[in-house]
Symmetry: C2
């Protein structure tokens, strides 16, 4: 593992010398490479599908694992879209002249070597490799073992394009030891690896966070809330609440708990129940909710659970302060929303709630790189530092100061 | 420790509600508090000085530990300067309207609870507390045990000002258990602590980095180089090399190794030796250097040593590529400089060298918050992410997205 990572680190230097035009051209070749090797990819994937069947993978996991012509075309198109992004490296973030006459430039640079740990979907392999290459980073990938054949086939195609362009294959690679022990080595190799991005279940993320010596950008749970204030536009409130829960319940920016101001609970809860019943949402509520509508009881554990399913907790709270108290206690810092027409209440909520994305009068479902206008995303960070919320290609850069003097010495 | 940190975390909410004007006024009261309690501070410090004498602390450590009227006045002035800084919280870093009509604001916010681990100088206690308070962060401080009485006395004065302003004392506090075990608990309390900043020896920083589950911004070693290119202005080269090594050898931005282009080594090394001899610098060099001037032999270990003393390694390298190779191998990513009049060579160096600060024709000694124009600094980060290089008060903030909609739902 150490020799492998050392090679990756060494390879990273060459990325400093490749122009944006070259990176773009090579990415387009990679997209074409996937198309040209569609049959080989399908054959490799068939091995994973067969093994998955034999080990009784769930139908949803089998579906995530599957590669067909349409999905391979989508992977190629995703790389082409990444190729078309503006080069994130070399951007001048700030610039000034110091009192000593030094001309300062704060300039974006690649992070270096990025380790990405993810699960079943093979398209993550090509998406991530393309995002890292576009941002001049080396990636070392650790996909799910159920997709090993598919991932190896994808990596080989991308590496063949690198080699045809006289670039080291080590710029994009799968880690040689994909076992738990291999991962444990990877996350401690801070000498060679600059960032680890774990994407996957809570167990994986916890393990990586607790054991890594390399910096980690987590993509952790979204315990998202929507608070309906007494000054809410009622139609917006119902429309947004339904959208935040129902439109795609299985994702991290979906709402898990709806908070309703006590002063409008009697009016709103029956209307909300009607709407959620029509959407087949399973509702749970605290005793104040249960006093108004007929729902199951919600426990503290429920308020702490990311259902990723069409199940919703409801809680009656006393005003915006009550909503904030609940969010401080149970929120995961992902996405939170208030529905109100009152500007002072809105600002109180926006300022007091500490989350990556805090909304007024909109669905929490908008928290992603596409909706934010970032283009392709690496994921949605729940870190408080470096990248917070949707992590676009800019999140794969850091910066340095270039400093131009003409003989300055320190006095 | 857990109850203590939980209280710190809870206290952090109140900082969201204090205006910039209040923070400024309270900081000025803290500065005055130090002045008004000069005698109490000197008395507390005398206990530390006595214990230091009894345990045979070195004279340089004793000097760092000492508080007298002049130093206490300087601590008060430092707080006043921090009070005068622009509020780093609430700054809009970016803003746009998405395709869905959401008005996006990327806004700076405090990080939350910051743990700072440092060594002997008591003024770090008041500086750090003031920087954290100005940026609306709670600080939990762990100073050197040799300064425990001084630090407690400083913290008490600042806490008394907080209390007089109806604010919780927990906003600024020393950790209750300052033992190694206490630190080990602190750095794993990611539930309550958002960032750890270790300042001190290599052993401390390594231990914290390897064991923390909280994010860490390191203030690690500076293995800084200056490369004299064949196209250097000779006078600048000598002047800058001398300044980078000699002006203050004991700091992290001082040069440790001088790289000289082989094509000018015969001309420049004798002139450099003359200048460094006059500055009483102890010189070491590789065999190509030794073939030209009479110096001790420099080993690979020397090239990897941060002397923090008036000792310098010299190495003859072949052009800018040779310089870059050496820096890739031995540099610590802190500060690196090239002396050249050639713009293409300068840009090659600036682009290829990965360090927080890369200089053309200036001394590496400029890498600090004051010289960069950041005002008071928390330290000089050797992290690659979050804060890189001089870490001003902006480095104590992160951001969130405030998102203003008018009923948007996801399609």
């Amino acid at each position: 593992m150490e020799a492998f990572l050392k090679e990756a680190k060494n390879a990273s230097r060459i990325l400093m010398t490749i122009s944006g035009a070259e990176k773009k051209r090579i990415l387009l070749e990679m997209a074409q490479g996937l198309r040209d090797n569609t049959q080989a990819l399908i054959n490799a994937n068939a091995l994973d599908m067969k093994a998955g069947e034999e080990s009784n993978l769930s139908s949803s996991l089998m579906d995530r694992l599957l590669l067909d012509e349409k999905r391979i075309e989508a992977m190629a198109v995703a790389i082409e879209e990444i190729a078309a992004l503006k080069d994130p490296v070399g951007r001048i973030l700030d610039g000034w002249v110091t009192e000593d006459g030094l001309h300062m430039q704060k300039v974006t640079i690649p992070i270096g070597v990025i380790g990405i740990i993810y699960e079943s979907r093979p398209n993550v392999t090509s998406d991530t490799a393309a995002l890292c290459f576009k941002s001049s980073n080396v990636c070392v990938l650790k996909g799910g073992k159920e997709a090993q054949n598919s991932n190896e086939s994808i990596a080989k195609i991308l590496q063949d394009v690198l080699e045809a362009n006289d670039l080291p294959r080590a710029l994009i690679s799968l880690i040689p030891d994909a076992s738990r022990e291999g991962v444990d080595k990877l996350i401690k190799m801070d000498k060679y690896v600059d960032l680890i991005i774990p994407r996957g279940g809570a167990g994986l993320i916890k393990h990586v966070s607790e054991n890594a010596t390399v910096s980690v950008v987590k993509h952790d749970k979204g315990q998202c809330h929507t608070y309906i204030d007494k000054d809410a536009n009622r139609e917006n409130a119902i429309k947004i609440a339904i959208n935040a829960k129902v439109q795609r319940p299985g994702v991290c920016n979906a709402m898990e708990t709806l908070l309703v101001d006590s002063s409008i609970a009697e009016e709103m809860l029956p209307r909300l129940k009607e709407a959620f019943d029509a959407a087949h949402t399973e509702l749970k509520g605290d005793s104040r909710t249960q006093a108004i509508i007929d729902v199951e009881h919600a426990t503290d554990e429920d308020y702490d659970t990311e259902y990723l399913a069409n199940i919703l907790n409801i809680k009656v709270v006393d005003g915006v302060e009550g909503a904030i108290d609940h969010i401080v206690r149970f929120g995961s810092g992902h996405s939170e929303a208030i529905i109100t027409e009152n500007i002072t209440t809105a600002e109180e909520f926006l300022n007091a709630v500490d989350a990556a994305a805090v909304y007024v009068n909109a669905s929490t479902r908008f928290t992603d790189g596409g909706a934010f206008g970032f283009g392709a995303e690496v994921g949605i960070s729940t870190n408080k530092l470096h990248a917070r919320g949707p992590m676009g290609i800019e999140g794969l850069t850091t910066y340095k100061f270039k400093i131009y003097g003409n003989g300055q010495i320190r006095g």
